[in-house]
Structures are given as C-alpha cells and as structure tokens.
C-alpha cells in the first residue's frame, strides 16, 4: 500500500480537523447533547447548561500537534531513511502530547465536576430544609476535593441531599484528537520500516488487513451519510445554532459521537465487553458454519434454518430427557449439532444427487424452517379432516415408494421405463389425493396440542430441565450471579491471565525462531515467558484487581464456540478428511482425479457446516441467552445471515472469524446503546454497516490488485532499504 500518500492525506485531514473538529467534549448529556472544546479553549455548547472549563496546556498541545503534523508532512515529502526518522519523531511527539493533554484535561474536568457538586451542596447549606444535616454537608464540602466524587455523593446522600444530574458527565476525546492519534500511530508504525525484519512484518500485516480494514472504513463512511441524514445535531433547551461554524462543528461531533457510542461501551466497560462477547458467541458459530462451506466450495446461506432445527432438537432433549447433567447436557449439545447437521445435509444431498444448487435450496429451507418454528410454537394448530387424510396418504406413499425402491424388480422396471412409471405413480397419487380430499359427513377437525408449548398465547416452549442448562460464564470462575444479583466486585488475578496469554502467544511465535524447533526448548521458552510475565506484573498489584462483574447472559457456550473454532482449524488443516474437503473446494475435478469423492465431500461439508450453525442453540436455548431457558419464536435467525459477513471478514479462517465475530459483537452491542443514546438513530445502522462490509469485501475494498496485495507492490514503489527487492524475489513473482 502506498503509505506515503495515505499518511499525506490523513495529515492534511488532521490539520483541517485541528481547526474545525472538536478536540474533546467536556459534557455529554442524555439525548446526545454535547459541550465541546476546540483547541485552544474554544467552546461550543449544545447543552445550554455547561459552564466554561479552563483547561490548562491547550496552547502547548496545539503548537506541538501542529508542529509534529508538519514534521510528518515534511517526512512524506522526503525520501529514504530521513522520512522514517521524521515520521518516528512526529508520531512519538503526537502521541506523547495527547497523552499529556488528556491527562490535564481529565484533571480539569474532574475539578470542574467537583466544583459543580460543591456549588449544589453549598446552595443547600445556605437554604437548608428540615431533613438536611447541615454540619454533615459542611464536612462533605470540606473534603470534596480530596475524596473521590462517588464517596462525596454518598456522604451527601447520608446527610440528606441527593445530588443528581451533575454536569461534566461523560467527558471524552473528540474527533480531531482521534485523527491526530491515528496519524501519530501510523507514522510511528511506518517508521518501523527502519528495521528490515520489522518492515517485512508490516508488509504481512498490511497484506492481511488491507481489504478488511478498507472495507470496514468504507462501510463506516457510507453509514456516516445515513447517520448525518437521520440525526440532526442534538440541542439542549434554548440553544440555537447560529452560523456555519457551530453548524459544522455540531455535525462533525454528531458523527463522531455516534461512532464513539458504537465502540466505547463495548471496549471501555466490563459490562459492555461481556455484552459484546454475548453477541459474538452465536456469530462465531454461524461464521464458522458459513466459512466451513466456503472452504469446500459451497455457499451455505442456510444457517438461519439450521439454527432453528438445532434449537428445536436441543429444546426437545432439554425438556424431556431426565438424568444428571453429566449425561443430559452433552446429549443436548449433540442434539443441537445433529439438528443443524441434518438440515444442512439435506441440501448437500440434493446437490450431490441431483445437482440442485445449494444456494437456492438452503434459502428455501430457511423459509421452511421459519414456518416450522412458527408451527411448533403456535397454540393448537388445527387440521381439517380431508387435509389430515391427504397428509397421511402422502406419508404412506413416501413410505411405500421408499420400500419399493429397495426391491430389485421394481428398480428394473423403473430403469426400463422411468417416464411411464412416474406418470402412473403421479396419476395414482393425484386420484388418491382428490378422493381423500373430498369432504365427508361426520368429519372431525384434528386439533394438535403440542405438549412442549407453554399454555397461553406466548410463542415459547416449556423451560428446559435444570440438568441441561449451560452455566453462565462468571459461574465457571466462581461468581454466582444468581445467588448474589447485581454487580459483584471480585478480586481477579490479572497477572495469572496475562501470564497465560503471554505463554499462549509464545507458543505460536517461538517456533518461528530456529532455536526453538526442539520441543524441550519450546516448552522451556513458553514456561519462561509465562513465569517472567507473572513475575513482572505481580509487583504492580495485578494479582488482585477489583473487577465488577455485572449480571450477564454470557454463558459457557462462548467457550464451546472457541473450542469449535479450534476443532475447525485442526480438522481442515491437520487431517486427511479436511485436506480432501479443501481440495474439492479449490479444484473439484482435480480432487476427484486424486481419489476424492465430490458427492461424499459435499454432503460431509454441508453436514458439518449445518452442525456448527445448529450449535447456536447452545447459546440461545441451553445457555438461556433469550429471556429464559426456553425456545422462543424470537430466536434471532438473522445471526445466520450475519455469519456470512463474519466469515468473509475473517477470511474464512477460524482465528479471523473469532476476531471478526467479536468486532460484530462490539457493533451490535454498540447498536443497542446507540438506540438509547441517540433520539433519531436505530440499531439498523449496524445491520446496514454489516451488509456494506460484505459488499465491499466482495469487491476487495475497490482496491486495485497492486494495493490489495502489498507483497506484490509494483517495482516503482519506494524500497525503504536499498536492495530489499532482491531478498523478496520469491514473494514478488
């Protein structure tokens, strides 16, 4: 990718943003109204009730930012190593400046917030009510600037004053600061080309990330148009936009705030993070399902239907099978996979046997499954007597034909005159149907009472037995949310988890170095990394970090999803069957020549793919991610379609799918926060973004081939280190 041009454009954009875009928001109120600060200390207030905050260091931040942006620009104009050094300097200064600036900003806003609190308390002291504990409040005022604000508020409440709606709520970064951090980060990243080994790593990162990243970016840009059309700048009481400048600032901030809302809650809070994992879990399953099909050259759009059938079977096992959890729970999980697998195997078989297109058949089966779900959750479906007779007749015919198909004499007759036999069978069936369909006297309509449907009009099944329920994720870590509802504050040994993660990363990275080829060395290295990480982090008090765990529907099926991803990785890339399956996907004729059966592999791939989709039932039924532990009509089958986007964004590889499912989980959770925060925006913005991501990825981000694959950069592209072209010869082609 031409990083020089990209950075040049971004820097120019950041320079414009420095003048036009908000640097930070001092106050964001409900309804998305904001009070904004532009460098240096220019204020635009859309809330109508936020006083000025004097934030120190704004001039310094402005001067340093502008200067380092110019340095980055100069770097883009120069060649060779000078450019990299300039970019390194500019990037580091930008990031350092902003960390310092936001530190100052945070302190100033905290002070202003405490000041506003003190003003409110002081007002009450000056005109006390009967219930007011005046000396108590005076103590609160005296200590306000020393104690954390939350404890001051609690103390004030104890003294009879309930403080609500403090200003300077939700302060945070603005668009221009973000732009400058992006420029700084990118400049620093590209400056790493100073080292040859890192330069190749950067190329690799760009090669894998270029299309997904561009696609996401383009989708966000396209969604920006919609956001700006739908959502006018939110204004407080008696606030008007006078003139073009505040208008532009307001528009820019609406957009920025909307995107911030999409990401901030999921990535910035524990509850939001767990929510996005919850949203991600079914998407991992469906993403794996779609990707598994793609790997075998099949497009499985049938995940919604497979989800339904899996969920129904899991529900049946959960409701009716008695026994201890150790027996029932695995069986319920298997039932979910079997249901989805069967529903996937059907179009696979139709394709293998008749050549019927799996795309159309899976789509049609989605509609059939949707009707099926409605049917089994509807109260007392009624069949008229003739209809029952016709159904029985057809069922009988199917059974008879199936049995006859095994008789050699019948097979021979069919082989000799297939059309004649079909015609006879067709006429017989038609006559039979008409005869059976004629109404008769004394016909009684058949009313089905489905036992697993709860009485009443609510479309849901009975709750599944306790034995078949998957535990919530916190309970696996010893936090019982049921016993102790509300937010549980628990000390978490962060060091241990960090050590585990570091060891895991080392397990994958170390084999790249020749010394660690030997197992003994590798094991030692992994252990060493883990122990060192623990030893380094433990003294900082990371062994017991208090983390508030909110009530959640995130359950053990998340772990199951990860296990499924690992299974898919091992199956496709470490077994003979997986190899055969991928061979059929890439070149069916060649694979068949090599001894693989296309028909067998088609059915196998569709079955496993369907089973993955069916496993979503673990989340929605066995895990109780819908309101309770029952099958509901509200089963969000659209996850099956979102799985297509997840698979494409993840490059059809398990690790990529887990990551992109997490991104989509973040967006989905962000969408529900957006619904609450912005009066005129809905979560449908997110579904549009997902669809656009698929479109842009299909078009490879509209990037020319040269850019899509940086390893194949044209020869005119600048070699950062002379002679690098040579040692890349193998990859350049």
């Amino acid at each position: 990718m031409n990083e020089r041009l990209a950075l040049l454009l971004l820097t120019l954009l950041a320079l414009v943003g420095l003048w036009l875009a908000p640097w930070a928001a001092t106050n964001r109120e409900t309804g998305a109204r904001s009070a904004l600060i532009l460098l240096p200390n220019r204020t635009v207030d859309f809330t109508g009730r936020t006083d000025l905050v004097d934030i120190p260091g704004q001039g310094v931040v402005l001067v340093l930012s502008a200067a380092s942006l110019l340095v980055v620009l100069a770097g883009a104009a120069l060649r060779g190593r000078t450019r990299r050094w300039l970019w390194l300097a500019g990037g580091v200064v930008l990031i350092a400046t902003h960390s310092w600036g936001f530190d100052r900003f945070g302190a100033a806003v905290r002070e202003a917030r405490i000041g506003a609190f003190v003003d409110i308390v002081q007002a009450r002291i000056d005109s006390p009510r009967e219930s007011t504990d005046v000396p108590g409040l005076e103590r609160v005022v005296a200590d306000a600037f020393e104690l954390p604000l939350s404890s001051s508020i609690a103390a004030a409440r104890a003294a009879g004053l309930n403080v609500r709606r403090l200003p300077y709520n939700n302060s945070g970064m603005g668009l221009s600061a973000f732009l400058m951090l992006v420029v700084g980060g990118l400049a620093a990243l590209f400056s790493l080309r100073l080292s040859r080994r890192l330069s190749r790593a950067i190329d690799q990162i760009l090669a894998t990330a270029a299309v997904p990243a561009t696609s996401i970016l383009l989708a966000l840009v396209a969604a920006a148009v919609v956001i700006l059309l739908l959502q006018p700048t939110p204004l407080g009481r008696e606030v008007e936009i006078a003139g073009l400048y505040p208008y532009l600032v307001g528009r820019l901030d609406t957009l920025w705030h909307a995107y911030l809302t999409l990401f901030a809650d999921s990535l910035g809070t524990v509850s939001g993070f767990m929510e996005s994992l919850k949203f991600a879990t079914p998407l991992i399953f469906t993403g794996l399902a779609v990707a598994f099909g793609f790997q075998a050259g099949l497009f499985n759009i049938g995940a919604p239907g497979q989800m339904v059938v899996g969920a129904v079977l899991a529900m049946l096992v959960g409701v009716y099978l008695p026994g201890p959890p150790i027996l029932v729970l695995p069986l319920a999980v298997v039932a979910a996979a079997v249901g989805g697998g069967l529903w996937g195997a059907l179009p696979g078989w139709l394709k293998a046997r008749f050549g019927a297109n799996e795309v159309i058949n899976t789509i049609l089966l989605n509609f059939v499954a949707a009707s099926f779900l409605l049917f089994i959750l509807s109260s007392s479906p009624t069949f008229a007597a003739p209809a029952v007779r016709i159904i029985l007749l057809l069922a009988l015919a199917v059974v008879v034909i199936t049995i006859l198909a095994f008789v050699p004499w019948v097979r021979a007759q069919v082989g000799r005159a297939p059309r004649g036999v079909f015609a006879v069978v067709g006429v017989v069936l038609l006559v039979g149907v008409i005869l059976a369909g004629l109404p008769r006297a004394g016909d009684q309509a058949l009313v089905l009472n489905l036992p697993f449907k709860v009485p009443g009009s609510e479309p849901k099944s009975q709750e599944i037995s306790v034995a078949s329920r998957l535990p919530q994720l916190p309970r696996l870590f010893g936090i019982d949310v049921k016993e102790n509802p509300g937010t549980n504050v628990v000390p978490v040994n962060v060091s241990l988890y960090l050590a585990l993660i570091a060891a895991l990363v080392a397990l994958f990275v170390l084999p790249r170095f020749s010394r660690f080829r030997l197992w003994a060395w590798r094991l030692g290295g992994v252990l060493g990394v883990g122990v060192v990480t623990f030893g380094v982090t433990a003294p900082f008090g990371l062994t017991a970090v208090d983390i508030g765990v909110p009530p959640t529907k995130l359950n053990a099926s998340f772990l199951l999803a990860i296990v499924t991803a690992v299974f898919m990785q091992l199956f496709l890339w470490r077994t003979r069957w997986g190899y055969e399956l991928r061979a059929v996907g890439v070149a069916p004729e060649a694979a068949e020549y090599g001894g693989a059966s296309i028909a067998r592999n088609t059915i196998l791939a569709m079955t496993i793919s369907g089973a993955f989709a069916g496993l979503t039932a673990c989340h929605y039924v066995l895990g109780g991610a819908l309101e309770d532990f029952s099958l509901r009509q509200a089963l969000p089958t659209s996850d099956g379609f979102d799985g297509i986007a997840v698979a494409l964004l993840g490059g059809n590889a398990p690790l990529g799918i887990v990551l992109s499912a997490f991104l989509f989980g973040v967006l989905k959770n962000g969408g529900s926060v957006l619904n609450i925060t912005f009066p005129d925006l809905t979560r449908d913005v997110v579904s549009m973004i997902l669809a656009l991501v698929v479109l842009f990825i299909a078009a490879k981000g509209f990037l020319p081939e040269r850019l899509v694959n940086p390893l194949r950069r044209s020869r005119s592209g600048e070699p950062a280190v002379p002679g690098r072209e040579l040692d890349r010869g193998g990859e350049t082609r």
């Binding site: 919609v226 059309l229 739908l230 497009f299 759009i301 139709l350 046997r353 008749f354 050549g355 019927a356 297109n357 795309v359 159309i360 058949n361 789509i363 049609l364 089966l365 509609f367 059939v368 009707s371 099926f372 409605l374 049917f375 509807s378 479906p381 009624t382 069949f383 008229a384 003739p386 209809a387 659209s638 379609f641 297509i644 986007a645 494409l648 005129d680 809905t682 449908d684 913005v685 579904s687 549009m688 997902l690 669809a691 656009l692 698929v694 479109l695 990825i697 299909a698 078009a699 490879k700 509209f702």
Partner: protein, 311 residues
Amino acid sequence: MSLDTVLLITLIGSTLRATTPLLLAALGGLFSERSGVVNIALEGIMLFGALAAAVTAQLIEAPLLRGNPNASVPLAPVVGVFAAMGVGGFIGWIHAVVSIRYKADQIITATAINLMAIGVPRLILTGLYDNSSTSEPLRNRLPQWGFGDFHLSPLVYLAFLLVPIVWYVVFRTPFGLRLRSVGEHPEAADSVGIDVRRMRYYGVILSGVLAGLAGAFLSIGNFNQFIREMSGGRGFIALAALIFGKWNPWGVLGATLLFGAFEAAATLLGGRQLLPPTVVQAIPFVLTMLVLAGFVGRAIPPKAIGKPFEK
C-alpha cells in the same frame, strides 16, 4: 352466477396475481443470467422497488391530501411505479459494478444486497414515518382493469405482455443474440467485437428494473403500503422458476404460473382453515425444492454463468 364460477374466478384471479411478481422478477433474472451474471439479489431488489414505489407515491400525494383528504391524485402511483423501476435499476447497477467491474463473487455481492434490503428500508421508514415496519397507507392506488368480478392491476397485464416481448428481444434481435453470446462464450463474443462488460451491465440493470417493477406490484399494485420483508422469498422462488423454465420466457411463464397456482391454492387452503397457516406458508417452498431437485438435471444453464470475464 353459481358459487363454483365465483370460486373459479377467484382462484384464477389470485393465481394471476400471485404469478405476476414471480413472472416479472424471473423475466428480469432471465436477462441477467442469459448475460452470464447470477442474480440472487432479485429478492432484495424487489424489496427496494416496493419501498421506492410506496414511499414515492405517498410523498407525492401527501401534500395534496392535506388540503382535501379525498383528493384524487392518479399520477402518484404511476410515478411510484417508475421510481421503483429506477431504484431497481440502480441497485442492479450496483450489483453490476461490483460483480462485473470488480469481479467479485456474484453470489456474495447479491447476498450483501439482500442483507441491505432488510436493514435499509427500516432506516428509511424510521426517518420518514417514525415506524420501522410499514409505510403510510396510500390513498391513491393503481387503477384496477377488468370486467365484472374480474379486476386486475395493469401491472398484471404488463407482466404477461412482457413474455412475448422478452422472447422476441432475446431470441430475435441482434441485442438478444449478443446478450446470449456473452453468457455462453464471452471470449468468442469478445473476439467478434462485442463489448462483453457492457452487455452484462445491460443484462443486470434490466433485471433490476424488472425486479423493481415486481416490487412495485407487491406494494402499490396489489396492496397500498410497504411492509418490511413483504417479498417473502418470492425473489428466490422466481430464480427457481427461471431454472425450471430453462431460461426461456415461455418456460418461465409456465413455471411461474405453476408456482403462482401453488401460492393461490395454499392461500385458499389457509383461508378455508383446512390447514394451519404456518403449514400453508411452507408449501410453496417445499414444492419449489421438489421441482428443482426433479428438473435441475435437465436444465442447462448459460455456460459462462457466474464467472467474471477476464479480458
């Protein structure tokens, strides 16, 4: 008139009405697939067309109705129909750009369009009507043409009239010859100077226009408002009908009439409470699958279908 005659006329009428959107969409799909581009986006394009027709007509008549609630604005639905065709053509153009110019996988592109057809209408409806599932009901609908008890929307007649026209265009004009050659053997077509990409653009955009028209029939031809996901899988059934009809307008007519009759019969069964409505809904899809499995082996698609053209 006896009861049987009334029943028969009702059945014929509802068969024709059920056939129309399938036929329009399938004829559209014929142009696209004959040029070598799979278009499973018909479903989504129909939805966009339906939305465009309902919203345009409603926005045109709304200011006139404000003065006089009973004002007749016969032009509003007509403009709505053209809007649907325009929007359909535009979405078709998007499909064409991504899958022809950028050589994307045609099925994935189309899936993206279908996904968008779920989310985008809701955003537009929320923006216009503060209601994410339906548009405002229309006062002025398209006229119904016919005699006696037999009244049909002009779009029904148009759809059936289009069958011979499409047949003539595809099989008896130079344009049709080029279109088919591009779908059968693009390299050969290219070697005699036919602009392969341009012909494919024409094919896909035409399919969008016709699918948009099918959508307009759903929202303002047969009904008076847009309901989200109102196409209910008809785009996919139209594709199956296209395969069943062997990519030939007359075959497509037969296939869509068959599926239309299924749908009409299913509706009749449901209306008489012979079967639970949930079972009735599934019948057309099951039958479509059976027909596909039985006939697909004998239907030969255009040879170059689904493959991007590399010059």
